[in-house]
């Protein structure tokens, strides 16, 4: 089964013919070549595939592509600001060592965006809860929490 789906992707109206068993992650990476969004586990455990749908963070590996019809999707590529400047959250991760291999980073940053959009001044506990759906095998999380704290100061 195939269908033409229409949605907003990083601020632009887009459409694509999609097979019914595809997840949003596959459409983003394979159809739109937005490879910033990563596939780690493919099963909702790691958060590497996190994107925002209508402002809420979701695991795109579990999100049926047909369900995105009419919705607004933001990926890590959509955070880059005018003049190709990094988003303040991205800057904070770069400056404060929140990135090592970088595989978890797009998902981590999208979860941070969802957190700060709802709660611009989170406590450390709220930060940890906010990224509890994102695994990082490199940093040990300390610098990530620090990066989010610094990003919040500029939010």
């Amino acid at each position: 089964m195939k269908k033409l789906i229409r949605f907003t992707l990083n601020g632009h109206e887009v459409s694509a013919e999609v097979e019914s068993h595809r997840m949003l992650l596959e459409v983003l990476r394979n159809t739109f070549h937005l490879t910033g969004t990563k596939e780690g586990c493919g099963q909702g455990e790691c958060g590497a595939c996190t994107v925002l749908v209508d402002g809420l963070s979701v695991d795109s590996c579990l999100y049926p592509a047909f369900e995105v019809e009419g919705k607004s999707v933001t990926t890590i590529e959509g955070l880059v600001e005018e003049g190709s400047r990094l988003h303040p959250i991205q800057e904070a991760f770069v400056e404060h060592g929140g990135i090592q291999c970088g595989f978890c980073t797009p998902g981590m940053i999208m979860s941070t965006k969802a957190l700060l959009d709802e709660n611009p001044h989170p406590t450390d506990d709220e930060i940890k809860r906010g990224i509890s759906g994102n695994l990082c095998r490199c940093t040990g999380y300390v610098q990530i929490v620090e990066s989010i704290r610094k990003a919040a100061e500029k939010y």
Binding site: S20, L56, S57, L62, P64, G133, N134
Partner: protein, 284 residues
């Protein structure tokens, strides 16, 4: 991954029609956090999924006379609802420790119950709150107490074409306290064990006690024998110790990747005891 068709009906009637037409080879999908994972793991092979997301009759959260939730209510919304936090904190707490933000943003309370994992975090609070499930299918509507809903791991009293439409909880009585507790390997993981307690106290005596334990039997348990021991008594340390021992007798856990049966048994007794204490602190 196996290919499947994907239907998005706008009404229950349309959903039943599709389910009947597809003759047992289709499944409903709510948030998909169980069903998609199981398809990817090869544990399920449906020819089609029928999405419940566009059916407005399954949405909405109201608390005029008790609490009424559409089965498609998201854990995200339960976690943030001020009336639930105030009047039904055991449910709010369970919602806030279920999985992680990305999962809670799509996972539904109906999906959690219909998936029927013995560890389902929504089950113990709804058991002690004596929730009723409204079930609808092509043959009509019926109401089932949550106690009679679960039949075994992954099994419920639902027919293949039936949908849980609403979950209702009676109005909270004065002097009621309640709590939900969970132990996982890490915060916000599937439970090694979970438990809920609801207590009504009058003049220091327990007038009503409802207890439930999860992940320690093929289905989430109501602990009726133990409720009977607590009711009519003052809740004191000796009684609580006896409760913890009785819980260990009444559960029948398994060993799996998350925990051993023995640990589950012990911790389940302790969780129930602590949940009663916390409920008692909040009663009145």
């Amino acid at each position: 991954m196996k290919k499947f068709d994907y239907y998005q009906p706008e009404s229950l009637k349309e959903a039943y029609g599709l389910m009947e037409k597809l003759n047992g080879e289709a499944r409903f999908i709510a948030g998909g956090t169980d069903v998609i994972v199981r398809i990817k793991q090869g544990a399920l092979h449906p020819d089609a999924l029928i999405s419940l997301r566009r059916i407005s009759a399954l949405k909405g959260l109201g608390n005029e006379d008790g609490l009424s939730m559409g089965s498609m209510t998201l854990f995200r919304d339960i976690e943030r609802d001020p009336a639930i936090a105030r009047d039904y904190p055991a449910l709010g707490e369970a919602a806030s420790v279920l999985a992680n933000p990305q999962v809670r943003n799509v996972a539904t309370i109906g999906g959690n119950l219909c998936n029927a994992a013995p560890s389902a975090d929504a089950a113990p609070p709804l058991m002690v709150l004596e929730a009723t499930l409204t079930i609808e299918g092509p043959g009509g509507q019926r109401e089932v107490s949550i106690e009679d809903f679960f039949r075994g791991p992954g099994e419920t009293c639902l027919e293949h074409t039936e949908v849980v439409t609403r979950i209702t909880i009676p109005k909270k009585r004065k002097g009621t306290g309640m709590a939900f507790l969970k132990i996982g390997r890490v915060a916000q993981d599937i439970a090694i064990a979970n438990a809920a307690a609801l207590i009504v106290v009058e003049n220091g005596v327990c007038r009503k006690c409802r207890l439930s334990a999860g992940a320690v039997a093929p289905v989430p348990l109501r602990l009726k024998r133990i409720e009977g021991i607590v009711e009519g008594r003052k809740i004191e340390p000796d009684l609580l110790d006896r409760v913890a021992e009785m819980v260990q007798e009444d559960v029948s856990p398994i060993t799996d990747v998350r925990s051993t049966a023995q640990y589950r048994k012990t911790v389940s007794g302790i969780l129930v005891k602590r949940a009663i204490k916390e409920a008692l602190d909040r009663a009145g």
